[in-house]
């Protein structure tokens, strides 16, 4: 196994940290503190639901914003600033560089999510609620958010290989939103009597990433368990889909002439 992606990944993580990307944690911390204090005063018996829903939604949204807006610049910025020139002149394959950038951003997102998870746990502790075994579902929901971010990052990286950050962000967000409603699009197609629309919506359903399955926030809020089969299924789906997207990104980037 080549060590090159690891070297690139560590540098990508270090760049994110030094560019103060993790400052969003301050915002998350303040949100959780405010929510904990407010919820303790106004809600009766639904502290858990409100804090978990708010916390998980914030983790998801902040992670998504980071994945999209850092992901779309990952390769483009390197090409624009020409920082990858002296790197690619070394014994580094282009796919190794891509894999390193991807792993570096994933590491950043994982560390960010870890700190937000600690913040959420602190908020739950503050409102005086003891931890119960059902809270494992909260961790599962966070794990699903991470899988979702891994997919979004791969898609953003793919677009970053051939288009500007603005367009890449638009494309990535479009894929994300369509992916969230992939099931609804297929159901809509089934309702129509037009075979062409049915084929198109079914194709979209299978081609686009199905983000709906990664949302376990409601289950976590209500303390419902998540089937182990779904955890396996989502894990496998995210790995396979991300690998396919990254392979496509590598194919595009491999023959790209750098300005």
């Amino acid at each position: 196994m080549s060590a090159m992606p690891g070297v690139v990944a560590v540098n990508t993580f270090r760049e994110a940290v030094r560019d103060r990307v993790l400052y969003n944690l301050v915002f998350f911390g303040l949100l959780m503190m405010g929510a904990a204090i407010l919820v303790g005063q106004v809600s009766i018996g639904i502290n858990r639901l409100v804090i978990i829903n708010l916390g998980l939604t914030a983790i998801s949204v902040i992670g998504l914003v980071m994945a999209v807006f850092i992901g779309v610049g990952l390769i483009y910025k390197e090409m624009e600033r020409r920082t990858l020139y002296s790197l690619l002149a070394r014994p580094v394959r282009r796919w190794e560089f891509l894999a390193g950038k991807y792993a570096g951003l994933l590491l950043t997102l994982a560390v960010n999510t870890l700190f937000m998870t600690i913040g959420l746990a602190a908020a739950l502790y503050y409102v005086g609620r003891p931890f119960v075994p059902a809270d494992v579902t909260v961790l599962v929901a966070i794990y699903f958010i991470l899988l979702e971010l891994a997919l979004v990052t791969a898609i953003a990286l793919f677009f970053s290989c051939f288009s500007s950050p603005m367009l890449s962000a638009l494309f990535t967000l479009a894929v994300y939103v369509t992916g969230v409603f992939a099931g609804d699009i297929r159901d809509f197609g089934a309702l129509t009597k037009n075979p062409g629309v049915q084929v198109a919506t079914r194709a979209l359903y299978f081609l686009l990433p199905n983000f709906h399955n990664f949302n376990a926030i409601a289950a976590a809020g209500h303390g419902e368990s998540v089937p182990v089969s779904l955890i396996w299924q989502n894990t496998l789906y995210a790995i396979v889909y991300a690998c396919v997207v990254l392979t496509a990104a590598s194919a595009v980037f491999a023959r790209r002439n750098l300005k």
Partner: protein
């Protein structure tokens, strides 16, 4: 025959041009070159001649339309071979969140050195390029000249056999230029091959065993600097000052131009001694005598003509 350090065969690069990208602009036209091991090889040409395109092709940053290249007998597509080469891009820009020390350490990691070896090399090369004092300053605070020095250090930190430098003197002050020249000569003494592009003729004259001249993407010739450019002294420039500002001797007053408290005359090589005698007779103090040579740009204008050069640079080939 032993493998050359660099062998280039018919290397050609076309770029799409025009709104519909149906036309092709030829940036490099069937370039063939051979550079031997241990040579300092200058790649000369005016801006837009195709020098950077050639270097980018050799570094596989762009891909050739036609042709091949080998370095030390191995194809440029052979990725592990790139462990044997170093590259300084033109106007380099590096990760500005890193310090110079961290950047060199980062690049040294790609050569698989252990921590102790990396530390030794990084310290050595930071000192060599004269930025040891700023080793722990983030690169975002570096001047252009300092970045150029870091760029040279990263190109040689892994002690490669063949080093490619794209305009290595660019952005450097006279002291920096001198230091870079010393580094190149030192690399030559170590038996390494240095291939550098420049449009500054004196650099090539001073450093190169051989040069290649490129104009409009086409090779104009290769050889020793004097041979290829046909450097001839056009005239001699004499700088002098007169005692107490008494004025220029009448015989050469028409030729002289004033530069503050000093005067400058340009005379033919054959008339130099006569002019100097006159100045001496008039009590003038001669400050310097410098041969005036054509610049590379002048050489190119003579070689291909202004219009022809422009036509070469934007040669259009309909697909």
């Amino acid at each position: 025959m032993a493998a050359a350090a660099i062998e280039i065969e018919n290397l050609t690069k076309d770029y799409p041009a025009g709104f519909l990208r149906k036309r092709m602009r030829r940036s490099l036209d069937h370039l063939s070159l051979r550079v031997e091991e241990g040579e300092v090889f200058g790649f000369l040409g005016p801006n837009g001649a195709g020098k950077t395109t050639t270097l980018k092709l050799l570094m596989r940053l762009i891909f050739p339309t036609e042709g091949t290249a080998r370095i030390r007998g191995r194809s440029i597509e052979d990725v592990p071979m790139h462990a044997e080469i170093g590259y300084l891009p033109e106007q380099p820009y590096f990760y500005d969140h890193l310090t110079a020390r961290e950047l060199l350490d980062y690049y040294a990691r790609f050569s698989g050195f252990d921590r102790a070896e990396r530390k030794r090399r990084v310290t050595r090369y930071l000192e060599l390029v004269g930025i040891a004092a700023a080793a722990d300053v983030q690169l975002r605070k570096f001047s252009k000249g300092m970045l150029q020095r870091v760029g040279i250090a990263q190109a040689i930190v892994h002690e490669p056999k063949v080093i490619f430098l794209d305009e290595p003197m660019s952005g450097l002050d006279p002291v920096g230029r001198r230091e870079v020249r010393d580094i190149i000569l030192d690399l030559k003494r170590q038996g390494r091959t240095v291939f550098f592009s420049t449009h500054i003729l004196p650099d090539a004259e001073m450093l190169c065993d051989r040069v290649a001249v490129l104009a409009g993407g086409k090779l104009q010739g290769t050889g020793a600097p004097g041979e290829i450019v046909g450097i001839e002294v056009q005239s001699m420039e004499v700088l002098f000052e007169t005692p107490g500002g008494t004025g220029v001797p009448a015989a050469i007053a028409q030729q002289a131009s004033r530069m503050g408290a000093r005067y400058r005359i340009e005379v033919g090589e054959a008339n130099l001694y006569e002019a100097m005698d006159r100045l001496r007779d008039a009590g003038a103090r001669i400050l310097s005598v410098t041969p005036v040579r054509p610049t590379l740009e002048e050489y190119f204008l003579r070689l291909v003509g202004r219009e022809a050069a422009a036509a070469h640079a934007v040669e259009m080939v309909t697909r």
